[in-house]
């Protein structure tokens, strides 16, 4: 396994600052804004964005955590590996009705996780709008989904793995492209 770093801790911090600025710029509905991180790494990213937004606007933004496992399209008979993904906590401290929800995730790839997240959210209520913020967009969409706020676009091949590691969840910080030995681009 070879690993090439594409973002270090400073670049992640700068990307998040720029995303926070874009969220503020887009504006209009700051009072209703609600950041919801997709488990696992979307949650610490949502917390970091909330801190940046609070510093920029002086307004606290609520942060929630969403587990989309039970809404995935690859559990059951379609899942070749025969292993159910491990469930994690969903915790929405406030109701989402009428709010402008900004979903936060680490990597946008096929778009299937976002589809599952949209379906999950709809079962919790009726937000006024849902936006999407991702640290890395690696392309290869399989569904018609696009992000509103992107930290970095990382062109990648399907045989590669884009790994986001965060201090809160992994003890290290950075974004890497990894590929199994033997696969050449």
């Amino acid at each position: 396994m070879r690993r090439v770093e594409v973002m270090d801790a400073r670049e992640i911090a700068r990307a998040l600052e720029r995303m926070a600025a874009e969220v503020v710029e887009r504006g209009g509905d700051e009072e209703q804004l609600y950041l919801i991180g997709v488990q696992t790494r979307g949650v610490p990213l949502a917390r970091r964005l909330a801190r940046l937004l609070a510093a920029a606007t002086g307004r606290e933004v609520p942060v929630g955590a969403l587990d989309i496992t039970l809404y995935r399209d690859d559990i059951g008979p379609w899942r070749p590996a025969h292993q159910q993904p491990v469930l994690r906590a969903t915790n929405l401290p406030e109701a989402i009705d009428g709010r402008v929800v900004c979903l936060v995730d680490d990597v946008l790839y096929t778009g299937r996780t976002v589809r599952a997240a949209l379906d999950t959210l709809m079962d919790y209520g009726r937000p006024k709008a849902i936006r999407l913020a991702v640290l890395v967009d690696r392309g290869h969409r399989e569904l018609p989904i696009a992000a509103d706020f992107v930290g970095r676009t990382v062109p990648s091949s399907r045989v590669e793995d884009v790994q986001v590691r965060l201090k809160e969840t992994d003890g290290e910080e950075g974004v890497w492209i990894a590929r199994e030995d033997g696969h050449e681009r």
């Binding site: 039970l70 059951g76 590996a81 491990v86 469930l87 915790n91």
Partner: protein
């Protein structure tokens, strides 16, 4: 306990606690913890088992367990069919195996079975493709009950290891006590059981518990007291002189509860015989978590269905 985190169950079926490793028990409980949240949502249903069919084959009276399984199935979007022995061909003399084979010919994915004879689910599991879940077989095992009891203790106490759990009552006819002793001792708890000598089966201690004939000795300093129902319907004859005498020696009363730890949890798998094995002042008292057990039962059954639906077997690479 092994350090490696288990992420799937090894077997096709859930027939008892006995075949489960500590890691598998941990996985079911961890999954159940997150399943609890679904009941708090405005829409209490997730699509995880969409298109799966579950047959509930209850050959013996049950309210709580059957409703709990049905609720779990519905919350996961499975289609379920419930089978009541009285109104079926069982009353016309069909064998259990034939009934099950006929049901399986309709391609269900799960068969939940409650049966008066020990080993009935195991017999079916050997011949059926569908996953079989034991919802109580005779006086043998009732795995989902033990799992929901363990979840209740864990949520209240933060863990199972080191807890002293006293189980009191009719040990002879109880499948709940067998599954609970196996699970709790496997997870590092100390289990004490007590009951009248006439209701203690031979070999009880071999399951991994301390056996007492005086209830007071078993509950002294306990963290949890679990009362078992006196199963009057399972006893050909009474194994104790009178219900009144049973109450005098083996009922959990406010006075006896004082012998246990001050914040000792009071549990009962239901249905309760108030005034026989448990005093109403205790059953409805502040230490009782009996209704929490019922709530947790749905979450545990959702966890088992979800984990079995995803496939099983030894972990593969990746």
């Amino acid at each position: 306990m092994s350090g490696e985190r288990v992420t799937r169950l090894r077997g096709k079926d859930l027939l008892g606690i006995d075949p489960l490793s500590p890691g598998e028990i941990q996985l079911i409980l961890d999954t159940a913890v997150e399943m609890r949240e679904i009941a708090q949502r405005p829409i209490k249903k997730v699509p995880a088992l969409r298109g799966k069919t579950v047959v509930n084959l209850f050959m013996e009276a049950s309210t709580r367990t059957r409703f709990s399984f049905e609720m779990a199935e519905k919350r996961l979007s499975a289609d379920s069919l419930s089978f009541a022995a009285a109104s079926s061909s069982v009353s016309k003399g069909e064998t259990l195996l034939d009934t099950a084979l006929n049901l399986e010919a309709m391609q269900p994915d799960f068969l939940i079975i409650r049966h008066p004879h020990a080993g009935a689910p195991h017999r079916l599991a050997r011949v059926l493709r569908s996953s079989v879940i034991n919802a109580g077989d005779g006086a043998h095992e009732h795995p989902t009950q033990a799992l929901l009891d363990a979840l209740t203790i864990r949520l209240r106490r933060g863990g199972l290891a080191g807890q002293v759990v006293a189980i009191v009552g009719d040990l002879q006819h109880s499948r709940v006590v067998r599954s609970n002793v196996l699970l709790l001792s496997r997870m590092g708890a100390t289990v004490r059981v007590a009951g009248p000598p006439s209701l203690i089966p031979v070999g009880m201690a071999a399951l991994g518990c301390e056996v007492y004939t005086r209830m007071e000795d078993a509950i002294a300093g306990a963290d949890v007291v679990m009362m078992l129902r006196i199963q009057l319907e399972r006893q050909g004859r009474m194994n104790f002189p009178t219900v009144r005498e049973y109450y005098d020696f083996f009922a959990l009363t406010p006075e006896r509860l004082k012998l246990a730890r001050k914040d000792c949890l009071v549990m009962h798998p239901g249905p309760m015989n108030r005034g026989v094995e448990i005093d109403s002042r205790v059953a409805d008292g502040p230490q009782s978590v009996i209704l929490e057990q019922v709530t947790n039962g749905v979450a545990v059954r959702m966890a088992v269905l979800y984990l079995l639906a995803g496939g099983y077997g030894e972990p593969t690479a990746n």
